[in-house]
Symmetry: C2
Subunit: 344 residues, 2 copies
DNA sequence: ATGCTCGATCATATCGTTACAATCCGGGAG
DNA sequence: CTCCCGGATTGTAACGATATGATCGAGCAT
């Protein structure tokens, strides 16, 4: 029906409004230097043609894209979705948009995403790294500001926003021990992330201080999905000397534990207490409702964007400043799944 | 320390490799017309400078960006996350990238996202519309191909990929009725989405055929979040003549129902059966595990991308083809939360 | 009148890439 | 020897926006 219709450009708008391209540009960018009648004429023309500026061309000229990249380990994890919401809300408030990339726990995909983001010339990147190598890559090749979120590449000073995982777990274990639990199993994901490492360290410290043993064998087994929580739970609960409390360092593994418990008809919290890291909307709905350590996830996303924007601004003036680390506090949400140990 | 360092361009690469810019371009784009030794020289230079082409400039010249936009109603709904995964996987396979936008159930935000995507000149848009108005806007202003996903603007023929909501619910009700339930309550979200409307119609048809009444008062109340399921559940279960089966048309509202049940100490499925639309990872872990109607969500994302790409290609040749509707089948997953009605 | 200032408007170079036409060169046919 | 062909390489004009300096008047002091 209609011929190949290319989008209108400023040239077209200028022609229709009877002004120069520069004037159109000034109006579009609210420079405030164009007289009222010309402004009106231009706006009318813009509306009539449904004109919208070509972001690529603009970015080419200005060197900025007003886009941020967000790379997360696993978008099916509600934790990252909540962080994403914080990121988007804060970004949109500063007139930035967010390119969301899911690396799906695969290092090669993560690297691919990072390269793609660079090619798009995003103004900055928020990275929850799956892989320490691509994280370093992202940092050291001078491709613009990066802020790490949730998880930090080991032994490098970087801009980051994380929760105090060590303290959170330290307090968590103290809480369980305070309920009288002496046999506490800690289940965590792969020990390649700073997140897991810090959490385990927090547990270890607390256990040591109270002279309690740590179930070493169940430590590095999980992969943060339901199934691994389930199978580890089965093993643990059917062992000759089962723990009286289980602390999973991730919320979905806790679901697996609950499933294992109900399958083995072991009552919770009467025989075994369960506590998990990360809150989720189902945590207080599930029976028994789940005691969790909740991170301020949404705020984490917001804070990360603030830090990144700050970093973008300052990187134009002074190339390198001290990397800034923002440490957020978590809170213990006690619900039904944890209780004092019963002597029998 | 170091001065403001601008990224390298093809010009720089060409200079270092001792060739022309055109040659660099040909190598970068694998045109296969450059001799082996020059190709090697260029690649070496590219690697040395860590060169990456400027996507904005490329898009400006070629008129394509290799980006797709995905706009979803609510990213905290696992349903959309699963669709997103399908979209990303399929897109990446065709060398496209995906710009994810969350409209957070807000029409104005959705419109803003659509405009932003257009300004970015994405090659096509996947839209799970919150608002029928911006959906029309997206369609009629000739801003490139759009494929609707999950939910369709009412009374317009469009490219879309949806599940057969009518049939799914029709079968769902027949299943419940087959278990002996005569008092079935249907809880659904706001009746502004084609999704909800079709589902309710399916329920209505089945109920009519079996001469069963439909609880009109609980129909249009929900908002698809846990809380609304919870409060509607409380009302329903404490009413003088409570239903023996509850069918929620969304998975998170089902969580709310379960919570209401356990709070009122009403046993499920002994006294009340619960069934929900949409599967989720927690559905089979929760006790009682939840009977659901599962949509092929991941495949939906994939199919939508395929349709969109096809639409992008053909839109260059023939401006308008018949809009294509892809209808997917859902499957009933029977679990513990539904059982035959008990006579007492 | 003349020159000056200042605000509004305009003309044009430029950003980094690709498309296309032009060029170059070696080798085979006449 | 000349001509021509075709593959490899190059030069240059776009793409659509913004930044910058030029231009143009009107108003005002001299």
């Amino acid at each position: 029906m209609m011929a190949k219709q290319n989008a209108y450009t400023m040239r077209d708008v200028a022609r229709l409004a009877g002004v120069s391209i520069s004037t159109v540009s000034a109006v579009v960018n609210n420079k405030g230097i164009v007289g009222p009648e010309l402004t009106a004429a231009v706006q009318k023309a813009i509306a009539a043609m449904n004109f919208s500026p070509h972001a690529g061309a603009r970015g080419l000229r200005t060197g900025r894209t007003n886009m941020l990249g967000l790379v997360v380990q696993d978008i099916t994890n509600p934790f990252f979705v909540e962080a994403l919401r914080g990121v988007e809300d804060e970004a949109i408030q500063h007139d930035y948009e967010v390119l969301v990339c899911n690396s799906n726990d695969q290092a090669d995909l993560e690297l691919r995403h990072l390269n793609a983001l660079y090619t798009k010339r995003v103004d900055g990147i928020l990275l929850a790294p799956t892989d320490s190598y691509s994280a370093r890559q992202a940092l050291f090749t001078d491709r613009g500001p990066v802020v790490f979120i949730d998880c930090v590449p080991i032994k490098i000073d970087v801009n980051c926003v994380v929760t105090d995982n060590f303290e959170a777990c330290y307090n968590g274990i103290k809480y369980l021990a305070g309920l009288g639990h002496h046999k506490i199993a800690v289940i965590c994901g792969r020990l390649i992330h700073s997140t897991s490492i810090d959490r385990v360290e927090g547990c270890r410290k607390a256990l040591q201080e109270m002279n309690l043993p740590i179930h070493e064998e169940s430590l590095g087994q999980g992969d943060s999905h339901i199934e691994s929580g389930y199978s580890i739970g089965l093993n643990l609960l059917q062992s000759p000397d089962p723990p009286t409390a289980i602390f999973t360092l991730n919320n979905r593994m806790a679901l697996g534990i609950l499933r294992a418990l109900s399958e083995l008809k072991i009552r919770c919290p009467e025989r075994v207490s369960v506590m998990s890291f990360d809150d989720a909307d189902w945590a207080e709905v599930v029976r028994p409702s789940l005691t969790t350590i909740a991170q301020p996830t949404y705020e984490m996303g917001k804070a990360a964007v603030d830090l990144l924007l700050q970093s973008i601004l300052s990187s134009k003036e002074q190339a390198d400043r001290e990397p800034q680390q923002i440490l957020l506090k978590s809170t213990l949400r006690v619900r039904e799944s944890t209780a004092a140990v019963t002597r029998d």
